[in-house]
């Protein structure tokens, strides 16, 4: 291992290579399996980025779908309506348009996150949840009223640029960023804010700033996920980014255990695949989600994907690699 590459960075590089490799062989895969796999990747990005806000920093946001919408619309406009103007910039490298559009979508979503976060992050708990919900709805209403992006009818004929490489490359970068951020000296502050805001402030941490950083970074990745989503489905409309979409992401985070990296990834995979398998019961899906939320909160608020700590077998297993990640939540 070269000295300038630590182990987690090595894992990131390996994951990016694996994503490229998967893309190379992707034409052997069934197109349905392919689209489900990409859906899994996008949901991991959404859940991990929300986990940074809701789980690690303890700020309950209900407007994640709004930031996703901002990213989706921005990138779709860049690769669609503005593609003719933008392509000359890239010269012969037209394939760079899509990553450019994704990043710009993420940046615009991050700006939106900053604008929403600045006033609302002074609030706590219930109030913050309601205000973020409100902002999410306002974003939806704005897109419904802007004729340039199709209004309530939505935007269609978005090119299908999303593929395994872009989706899983983004997934790897998101998971790595959240993980590395939380494990840095600076990042411990997020956990401190979640554990006890007043003590954190007394220790000299700028809690408002931490909350803002979490919000902006979370919104950035939600925006990128939105861009991937738009270029996977080729069609977006404002009501696809409503409160229910936000709740779906929240359920992934809660099921996986708020503030846990691996658990949230596992629950994003599980819920996406389950949704596909239960497609014929689509009408019942939200009923099941809501019941799941209530029962989980009463019986197991720490989440399902957290290993049972009292199991004797677990005592031995948790020292080893794949299980070790489940066991531990970095504590401050």
């Amino acid at each position: 291992m070269p000295s300038w590459l630590n182990r987690s960075q090595l894992v990131l590089v390996a994951a990016l290579l694996a994503a490229g490799l998967a893309q190379f062989f992707s034409n052997h895969l069934d197109s349905y399996v392919l689209s489900v796999a990409m859906g899994v990747g996008i949901n991991i990005v959404l859940a991990s980025s929300l986990n940074l806000i809701n789980g690690f920093t303890g700020q309950f946001s209900l407007g994640h779908a709004g930031f996703m919408a901002v990213g989706a619309y921005t990138s779709a406009v860049l690769t669609g309506k503005l593609a003719a103007q933008l392509n000359p910039i890239f010269g012969g490298h037209v394939y760079l348009l899509f990553p450019f559009a994704l990043v710009v979508g993420g940046l615009v979503a991050a700006v939106a996150g900053g604008l929403v976060g600045a006033p609302s992050l002074r609030l706590k708990g219930d109030y913050l949840a309601i205000v973020t919900l409100g902002f999410g709805e306002i974003i939806k209403v704005i897109f419904q009223n802007v004729e340039y992006v199709g209004g309530a009818k939505g935007l269609n004929a978005i090119p299908d640029y999303s593929n395994l490489f872009w989706v899983f490359g983004t997934t790897a970068i998101t998971v790595y960023t959240v993980w590395a951020l939380l494990n840095s000296t600076y990042g411990r502050g997020f956990l401190a804010v979640a554990d006890d805001e007043i003590s954190a402030e007394a220790m000299g941490l700028n809690t408002t700033r931490y909350k803002m950083v979490a919000f902006v970074v979370g919104a950035f990745f939600a925006g990128i996920a939105g861009g991937l989503f738009a270029h996977l489905n080729n069609y977006i409309n404002p009501s696809g980014f409503d409160f229910n979409k936000s709740i779906e992401i929240v359920v992934m985070v809660i099921l996986g255990g708020m503030g846990r990296h691996t658990g949230v990834i596992l629950s994003a995979i599980l819920l996406t695949v389950l949704t596909e398998l239960l497609r014929q019961f689509g009408d019942y899906r939200m009923v099941i989600y809501s019941l799941l939320l209530i029962v989980l909160m009463i019986l197991r608020p720490q989440g399902l994907m957290v290993w049972p700590f009292k199991n004797p077998l677990w005592f031995y297993l948790k020292a080893y690699w794949p299980f070790r990640m489940l066991a531990r939540r970095p504590t401050s």
Partner: protein, 301 residues
């Protein structure tokens, strides 16, 4: 001038409904310190109970559409909603009494979603036409157009607000409610059964929400399982505007919001009506978080 008066009348009847719902939010917040997200769906259940009970009454030969029949429908809806509210508290919130606010908040969202999606399964997704449960007539006073339903809404809301004031200020259980809201531990030390008071508060608040649902259905006669979302959020904004935890504040906030909303609807910005309501919420939370009539709470470590 007539247009202004007309808007005032419309604003009053909308504001009265918001006030009724807002009272439920504020009362529950007073005793349990959390926002009952499911409140807006109890409101929806009130409208649907009225829809089905007036239909059933018609089938059994009761004069549906008469004044007494209308009152009966109203009372049935309020009773049903009170029962649902108490049931929700018992099943979903009571097991979480000592847990963190976040846990309770997520549960409340879960209950709200369950009622909405369960409602869509049971009642169907399509909007239903709300029946005329009170005799409906339109008066013309000069240029003003007043529907008798608007008067009924105002009358019922006023009567319920008076009754609530009497219960909270003059009865034993109302005194106990105020005691629990002031300091739950101290209240239980002097022998108040806090669980019973909390159940009662949920029942009372839900009954008001049920009445609000019936009145809303009379004014906007198309009901569907997701109808609670928008008025629920508005009523919550009204509760925060008036100062959450304060009963007169909730009534005042509801009225103010009703006026603002009918005012905005009359201009060309009507599609941004909801955005204006949220702008009010954000403004009040930033500049006067205690609300118009609320008191500041100091957080202690």
């Amino acid at each position: 001038m007539t247009e202004l008066l007309q808007q005032v009348i419309n604003g009053l009847s909308l504001g009265a409904i918001y006030a009724l719902i807002a009272l439920g939010y504020t009362m529950v917040y007073g005793v349990l310190r959390f926002i009952n997200f499911a409140h807006s769906d109890v409101f929806m259940l009130g409208a649907f109970t009225a829809f089905y009970s007036s239909r059933a009454m018609g089938r059994w030969g009761f004069a549906s559409g008469g004044f007494l029949g209308g009152l009966l429908v109203l009372v049935i809806s309020m009773a049903a909603c009170a029962a649902v509210g108490i049931l929700i508290e018992r099943l979903a919130y009571r097991p979480l009494r000592k847990r963190s606010t976040l846990t309770v908040l997520i549960t409340a969202i879960g209950v709200s979603l369950l009622l909405q999606n369960g409602g869509q399964m049971v009642f169907g997704v399509n909007p239903k036409a709300f029946p005329n449960i009170f005799p409906s007539q339109t008066f013309k006073l000069g240029g003003l157009v007043i529907n008798s339903n608007q008067l009924v809404v105002l009358g019922v809301a006023l009567a319920l607000l008076t009754a609530l004031h009497w219960i909270v200020q003059r009865t034993r259980i109302g005194t106990a409610m105020r005691a629990v809201s002031f300091n739950a531990t101290a209240a239980s030390l002097v022998g108040i059964d806090t669980n019973r008071i909390i159940s009662f508060t949920f029942g009372l608040g839900s009954a008001l929400a049920g009445a609000g649902g019936v009145l809303y259905g009379m004014n906007y006669p198309s009901i569907e399982p997701l109808m609670g979302n928008s008025p629920g959020l508005k009523a919550f904004i009204a509760a925060v505007l008036g100062g959450i935890g304060s009963l007169p504040g909730a009534a005042l906030g509801g009225m103010v919001l009703g006026f603002v909303e009918t005012g905005v609807s009359g201009t060309r910005w009507s599609t941004y009506r909801d955005a204006v309501a949220f702008a009010i919420l954000i403004g009040i939370l930033l500049f006067r978080p205690a609300g118009l009539l609320g008191r500041n709470r100091i957080e202690k470590v």
